[in-house]
């Protein structure tokens, strides 16, 4: 596990470097009454991959939507705190301005444009770029290179493609904007394991070759921690644990609750004889 050592190092330096993206003490309320984020703070250093982990309903997607200011459309309000990207406050910007500044989001649950073909879906991703035809073609090629399955289905209406294909389409669409930072919400959901590895491989590639930073909300903790540099764990709208990915993977509780390995190593799913009740870090 030599890259774990690397990431530990990286995390140490990251603390010193000015964060690329920082979320400071954000509080979010839905529908005026449902308090979901209760003061979340996190940082993403430039060129790093940060994983946002946590159970269902912990507030991961909400955090990402807060950053990308997509919350407004869901009757969510940021009542406290602020978000900075490249040293600039971004919580008042529109998503369009964010994408132009290089911050893109892949939303949870695909959200492809059902009536557009796969290729048109990808092309809308490049909307903010003012790219020439040739550049667009090149970007398309790149996406098709990463996701060959999409090339096969390029003329199909996205609404009719399979769940996994839609997920690929959504990720590909975000890549078309050539972002410098991507918020990725559950990229692995519904994707065949091989492709999951591939997607994370792509993430790592983009990260190392093109210096794209990532903030990814993920349920598949093991793979997320394998590829991330740094991780945050959310519970009930609060950050309950943070640290370098390696540290987290080594933590006993994380092991037990998020990685499914306890002292005796990985247990078969068939042998889980008990319904598990989550231990809380905070009561």
């Amino acid at each position: 596990m030599n890259h774990a050592a690397n990431t530990a190092n990286a995390a140490a330096t990251a603390a010193a470097a000015a964060p690329y993206l920082s979320v400071n003490n954000v509080e979010v309320i839905y529908d005026h009454v449902i308090l979901v984020l209760k003061g979340v703070s996190l940082q993403v250093p430039q060129g790093k991959i940060v994983a946002l982990l946590g159970a269902n309903g912990a507030g991961k997607s909400t955090t990402l939507k807060t950053i990308s200011t997509l919350l407004r459309g869901e009757r969510g309000d940021v009542t406290k705190g602020e978000v900075q990207f490249k040293g600039e406050r971004i919580d008042q910007l529109t998503p369009n301005e964010l994408v132009k500044r290089g911050l893109s989001q892949v939303m949870e649950g695909r959200h492809c444009f059902g009536h557009l073909s796969i290729e048109e879906n990808l092309l809308t991703g490049a909307y903010t770029r003012n790219a020439s035809r040739a550049e667009l073609k090149e970007s398309l090629e790149k996406v098709y290179h990463y996701f060959p399955r999409l090339r096969e289905r390029r003329t199909s209406q996205a609404g009719y493609t399979s769940g996994g294909e839609q997920q690929m389409c959504a990720i590909g669409r975000a890549l078309m904007a050539k972002p410098s930072m991507i918020l990725l919400d559950e990229p692995s959901m519904g994707i065949a394991p091989q492709i999951v590895e591939e997607i994370f491989g792509i993430v790592k590639d983009l990260n190392s070759k093109e210096n794209v930073s990532f903030l990814l909300a993920e349920q598949n903790t093991s793979i997320a921690l394998r590829y991330a540099d740094f991780g945050y764990i959310l519970e009930n709208g609060r950050v309950v644990m943070e640290g370098a990915a390696a540290e987290l993977s080594a933590n006993e509780d994380v092991k037990e609750f998020y990685l499914g390995v306890s002292g005796a190593g990985r247990k078969s799913f068939r042998d889980m004889k008990f319904y598990r009740r989550r231990k809380r870090w905070l009561a």
């Binding site: 939303m107 444009f113 009536h115 557009l116 048109e120 975000a174």
Partner: protein, 300 residues
């Protein structure tokens, strides 16, 4: 059956259909690009025509000055609608947006009459609404020259808008917006700006429709009702298709006239009110998304 008369009915119907299509285009424009069923289109037609005529009648402007000024007004109106009505309602259910446009219709109707008064006006375009002598002499068929011009304008409008949607990046973005507001925002489509532009364009389409209908029937409140004539056209042609608006208009126009002339007398007449709707409805039973509308995707 008198064949000549049959053709007159047919052609008259087709040309009326074009007039319906002219209003339908405004609907399609907004629906296709934002999924909003814009009930205020009729009010906008009225507002545009009344503003233009009002400037002529009350300020004594010439039509050449009034039209550009009205264009400016319609653009401002479009931008204002986006700011005040649509922006806060991003990502809301279709029915909410639909309802908001009804509120908008009231507002615009009130505004138009507040500014320009309730009296009716005439609008005279350089081309008169009388039978074309040429066609009369040549084929002994009675067709209004005005209607022919209207058909030309409509064709032009449809062609350019259809091209906009299918060929340009903005067109693609607009269709994306109609599918999923949230996702459109996420990929960086500047929803706000696009909508403002769109409503401004819809305002221009409304102006064209308002001028033509206004010249045809006079500029008065009843212009808002022409929207009712556009609805069956829309459902027949498909809410999302520009060519659909034209083809739907032609079909509705022609069949409704035929029905009124040939079936009407048998059942006491006056069937024009519901016939187009029933026709469109029967048609939908075969193709639930209209002639050219986008198929409704239902997949689980």
């Amino acid at each position: 059956m008198n064949l000549n008369f049959f053709f007159e009915v047919l052609i008259g119907g087709l040309l009326s259909g074009v007039m319906y299509a002219l209003v339908a285009i405004g609907f399609v424009l907004i629906y296709k690009a934002s999924g909003v069923f814009n009930f205020a289109q009729g009010a906008m037609v009225f507002f545009a025509a009344l503003t233009c005529v009002g400037m002529v009648d009350q300020f004594g402007f010439s039509l050449w000055l009034a039209v550009p000024l009205t264009i400016v007004v319609m653009i401002i109106l479009g931008i204002a609608i986006e700011r005040v009505v649509l922006r806060p309602l991003v990502n809301q259910p279709e029915i909410t947006l639909f309802m908001a446009t009804i509120g908008l219709a009231f507002f615009i109707e009130g505004l138009a009459q507040l500014v320009w008064g309730a009296q009716v006006h005439k609008l005279e375009l350089p081309i008169e609404d009388v039978p074309s002598e040429y066609l009369m002499e040549k084929f002994n068929i009675l067709v209004s020259q005005f209607d022919i011009m209207a058909a030309g304008v409509c064709a032009l409008l449809v062609t350019s808008l259809a091209l906009l949607f299918s060929q340009t990046k903005v067109g693609r973005a607009l269709r994306a917006v109609a599918d999923d507001h949230q996702a459109a925002l996420a990929v960086g489509i500047p929803l706000q700006r696009i909508w403002a532009v769109l409503w401004a364009v819809a305002g221009l389409v409304a102006l064209v429709a308002g001028m033509l209908w206004g010249a045809r029937n006079g500029v008065q409140f009843a212009l808002t009702f022409v929207a009712l004539k556009a609805l069956p056209v829309l459902i027949l042609g498909g809410f999302t298709s520009m060519p659909g608006a034209i083809v739907g208009g032609l079909i509705i126009g022609a069949t409704e006239k035929m029905a009124e002339v040939y079936i009407g007398p048998l059942v006491g007449g006056g069937i024009e009110g519901w016939f187009p709707y029933v026709l469109a409805l029967l048609f939908l039973l075969v193709r639930p998304e209209g002639l050219f509308g986008e198929k409704i995707i239902r997949r689980i």
